[in-house]
């Protein structure tokens, strides 16, 4: 027979096996969970101080310490936002390849980079911001900032390794530590509080670190290094720039409305050196964040249980030679899972909100907050609910590896939030809080439309656009 004919068999064989999307899952937005816990607890410390010690002086110290702490929280979360998502994605990819032994050495490498940059960054920041404070204060600020940065990285890793229970327990222990230290170190005023924050966060960090070492040891014949920088060297594929920037932007976006309030003359005022706060804006919104917890719990449960399963089934149906009918059926199950998760999340959140609305007055009295804040609190509660919805959609976008869309939405979040917040300030006190809430309304609706389109076309894109 003549030597004519193509290598069709070979080509067909290769196509069937490799060209279908890799499955991976990672919970990106999980970092927000502990962030909310911190918010709530710092509020708790503030309030309990107000309750326990009715002196103007101690309140003033408390406020200064809180604002300092919040600034370290905010800036370190924006900074580590750059590494969080690429790092979790990197880890998820390695886990998919079953190279568990690469987790720990790369985590240590990641920590080293995080610490070096955090140190330099906070050094410059501290000198710039706190121009009248003692060297001890500056040193403590640098330490706090660096420890917090490490906590974020350890936290996101522990969460993506699904050590949820541990994360929650460790946070509780850490904040109990802060609370106890703050009582014992009361006579050292602001310095004592800063030390308490450092101790508490160090506890969290150490516990998380131990947890990671315990569950993911690095001893393996495929690895001889204690420290690895694979993610920066691009040993396993390129660095995920889009994920990095969307992480930074998301963290900027959730702070930008507060920052605008702090630094707008009428509503913001100086607390300590160059740090500002906003009496009108801060308390209601931090209090409103409290309401996010039940909804978030429901959402992650649904994401982990329903959606992750449906997603895995969808790709399994494709890769394991399912018929088109089966593939479409699994796609529908995925869509149903998304629908149900958002419905239930918003429903639970809504119920909780109604409860909050009804009891808001009593709550405010209990917390000795001026009733003046009530309308703003209502608006913020709605905004927080919408933020939860938007966060859920973002989580799906990350899950479906739609990095471009996620980046665009986080970018929009920054700009719309900034612009609408500024407009709301111009429109007067009655509209405070609407900037944030309307931003999230717009983003939530738009991102639902995007997610819907993506899900509808998932089979088309999986097959045709590869």
């Amino acid at each position: 027979m003549a030597g004519i004919g193509f290598e069709l068999k070979q080509i067909l064989k290769e196509k069937s096996l490799t060209s279908v999307l890799k499955t991976f899952g990672y919970s990106a937005i999980l970092s927000s969970g502990p962030w909310v816990i911190s918010m709530v607890i710092i509020l708790g410390i503030g309030l309990s101080n107000i309750y326990l010690f009715h002196t103007v002086d101690s309140q003033n110290v408390m406020l200064k310490a809180s604002v300092t702490y919040v600034s370290a929280l905010a800036i370190s979360s924006v900074y580590t936002g750059f590494f969080q998502l690429p790092f979790t994605r990197f880890i998820a990819d390695r886990m998919y390849e079953k190279r568990y032994y690469l987790v720990l050495p790369n985590f240590i490498g990641m920590l080293i980079v995080t610490i070096v940059i955090a140190f330099l960054l906070s050094f410059i920041l501290a000198i710039f911001i706190f121009n009248t404070q003692s060297n001890l204060f500056i040193l403590l600020y640098i330490t706090l900032f660096t420890v917090l940065s490490c906590v974020w990285m350890a936290n996101i890793l522990a969460a993506s390794l699904k050590l949820y229970k541990h994360v929650i327990i460790f946070y509780l222990l850490g904040y109990i530590g802060i609370f106890i230290c703050s009582i014992f170190l009361r006579e050292y005023a602001i310095v004592g509080l800063l030390i308490s924050f450092i101790i508490g966060n160090s506890i969290i960090f150490i516990l998380l670190f131990l947890g990671i070492i315990y569950y993911y040891p690095s001893v393996h014949k495929g690895n001889s290094n204690f420290i690895r920088f694979d993610i920066f060297k691009g040993n396993f594929g390129k660095f995920y720039w889009k994920l990095a920037w969307s992480g930074v932007l998301y963290n900027i976006a959730i702070w930008i409305d507060k920052v605008i309030f702090w630094f707008t003359p009428v509503v913001g005022y100086v607390v300590i050196d160059r740090l500002h706060a906003s009496m009108v804006y801060d308390f209601p919104i931090f209090l409103a964040y409290l309401s996010i917890i039940p909804g978030m719990a429901i959402f992650f449960f649904r994401l982990e249980v329903d959606f992750a399963q449906a997603y895995a089934d969808f790709y399994r149906a494709i890769n394991h030679h399912g018929s088109l009918g089966q593939i479409k059926q699994h796609k529908q199950r995925m869509i149903d899972a998304v629908k149900r998760s958002i419905q239930e999340t918003l429903f639970v959140q809504g119920l909780f909100n109604i409860f909050l609305f009804l009891s808001a007055k009593t709550l405010f009295e209990l917390l000795l907050l001026p009733k003046l804040y009530l309308p703003l609190f209502y608006v913020d509660v709605i905004g927080v609910q919408l933020q939860l919805g938007f966060m859920s959609i973002l989580a799906y976008l990350y899950y479906l590896d739609r990095q471009k869309e996620a980046l665009i939405y986080t970018l929009l979040f920054v700009f719309i939030n900034a612009i609408l917040t500024w407009i709301s300030i111009q429109m007067g006190p009655y509209f405070y809080g609407y900037g944030y809430s309307v931003t999230l309304l717009i983003l939530f609706v738009a991102s639902i439309a995007t997610l819907n389109r993506i899900l509808q076309e998932l089979d088309y894109e999986t097959f045709m656009l590869q």
Binding site: G3, I4, G5, H321, E457, D459, L465
Partner: protein, 508 residues
């Protein structure tokens, strides 16, 4: 797509599908022979390959002076891939494609073939490659077709089969468009993709199109498909409905039959190497009045010169020239040698050809040699110069289960070696004589046996090696037959005539 050579206008354009100049073998040598043998014409080559890495990096043939043009395209290479971008597509155009499917699936009559679809611009401007590959409309179309025809089969396999069937169409169209004004006549050495390319060009430009088929392409693809080497997913037998997973195979067969018919409908003349092949072409849809046989030829001078090196008498050596692969059925040869060695203990059997293509099969052959205890009789010689081997051989043999027109038989004849072969391809015509006048009257240049019939083969070996009269008679017939009908000069003259006729018709 890359232009390898462009030294001016050419007379004859030859589309080569996975052959000359990157692959060795019958068709490639035939092309080389044709080009070198007809220096009065200039030639162009259009090479169609699957992926660059499937072929040798450098041409395996030296380009003759009258080869003036060559362009190559590797259809499945990544750099040939259209940039990926989502798009909508137009439902109307897919209706046209649906008509085409009907044609492929059902009768494949010429007049029912949608006219627009014969034209190059349909594929270039209406449903272009990117539309087919990336558009939403195309996705609906493919998934609807799947639901209509074979909703139960693995969609992944279905999808990739559909893509793999279609992608080459656009590549061929792209290439056809590029070489549209190259050459005055098209001469395709096969149907398949190069036949399709030629048919498109012939349809668009009205250029004459000659087809010479070596094997029967459509049949070979069918064998490929049925030998289950496609690695498609199959359910366990118990859960499978009988027709279920044949659908993909059927799709491929329909496709190759379809483009085969398109090619036959545009080609004139339709040439083959031997009369059995001609019959098969007619069965696959070629018009009988356009079909002719032009056999291959061998260089009788070079091989005839080796006659003087032959020892006196009949050497007790049986030579099989061919690769050690299952299609050549070397195992039957080994068994036949066992039987032969019982009668002629000092018989030698040489297998001349590479044994690295089917390593497992070659290993099995060696085991069989051990088991049958013919180690002293059988030698695997690897690749050898036949001009050295043939004078030392008493007989040449082929035990293949499939052949086209094996040149080795003719080469053996030219060197004065009779042949014992199984009844495949044109072997019978070569050994017992074909339809040409006076051919059969010459007599038998060896023996034809049934496929895998050890007894027939071995008794033929014994008869010819022990009966010198019979052997010398066969040698005489062999030499006469090759000199009268199968010389390279006759082969070249035949094609010179074909070309001359056609150039006369188009007024050049």
């Amino acid at each position: 797509m890359r232009v390898v050579l462009d030294k001016g206008e050419v007379d004859i354009l030859i589309p080569c599908e996975g052959t000359y100049p990157y692959v060795r073998g019958g068709v490639s040598s035939w092309i080389a022979q044709l080009i070198t043998g007809l220096p009065e014409y200039s030639f162009g080559i259009v090479f169609l390959g699957s992926r660059q890495k499937d072929y040798s990096a450098k041409p395996l043939f030296e380009f003759p002076d009258n080869l003036l043009f060559m362009v190559e395209l590797f259809m499945f290479d990544d750099d040939e891939k259209e940039p990926i971008r989502a798009r909508d597509g137009d439902i109307e155009d897919f209706k046209k494609i649906e008509e085409l499917y009907h044609w492929f699936k059902e009768k494949k009559e010429q007049d029912s073939f949608p006219k627009e679809l014969k034209k190059i611009d349909f594929y270039r401007d209406r449903v272009d490659e990117a539309t087919f590959l990336y558009s939403r409309e195309s996705w609906y179309f493919i998934s609807n077709k799947n639901q209509e025809n074979c909703p139960e089969i693995s969609f992944l396999d279905y999808f990739w089969s559909v893509r793999s069937i279609h992608i080459p169409i656009w590549k061929v169209v792209k290439l056809a468009n590029f070489v549209l004004d190259k050459g005055k006549i098209i001469h395709s050495p096969s149907t398949g993709y190069s036949g399709f390319l030629s048919a498109l060009i012939a349809n668009d430009t009205g250029k004459p199109f000659i087809l010479t088929e070596h094997g029967i392409y459509t049949k070979e693809r069918k064998i490929d498909l049925i030998s289950s080497s496609f690695n498609l997913y199959k359910k366990l037998d118990l859960f499978r409905e009988s027709a279920e997973d044949n659908y993909i195979q059927k799709m491929w067969v329909n496709f190759f039959e379809g483009i085969g018919k398109m090619t036959y409908s545009k080609a004139n003349p339709i040439l083959s190497l031997f009369s059995v092949a001609k019959e098969t072409q007619i069965a696959y849809g070629a018009k009988a009045e356009l079909c002719r046989v032009i056999p291959n030829g061998v260089d009788i001078k070079r091989l005839g010169a080796t006659l003087k090196n032959r020892p006196t008498g009949v050497p007790k050596v049986i030579t099989l020239i061919g690769r050690v692969v299952s299609i050549k059925d070397i195992k039957t040869f080994i068994r036949a040698i066992r039987v032969t060695a019982n009668v002629i203990p000092d018989v030698e059997a040489w297998v001349v050809g590479p044994d690295d293509e089917e390593i497992a099969y070659a290993e099995e052959c060696r085991d069989l040699i051990d088991i049958l205890d013919v180690k002293d009789n059988i030698k695997f010689l690897g690749f050898q110069n036949i001009a050295d081997i043939l004078p030392k051989s008493g007989l040449q043999t082929l035990t293949s289960i499939s052949e086209g027109m094996p040149l080795v038989i003719l080469e053996g004849f030219a060197a004065g070696v009779p042949c014992v072969s199984t009844d495949v391809g044109s072997c019978k015509e070569l050994i017992y004589g074909g339809e040409q006048e006076g051919d059969r009257e010459l007599g038998k240049a060896g023996v034809i046996c049934q496929i895998a019939n050890v007894e027939q083969l071995s008794s033929a070996y014994i008869e010819l090696l022990t009966n010198e009269d019979r052997w010398y008679k066969a040698q005489k017939v062999a030499l006469e037959r090759v000199n009268r009908f199968y010389t390279q000069d006759i082969f070249i003259d035949n094609y010179r005539e074909v070309y001359k006729d056609i150039f006369k018709k188009i007024g050049e």
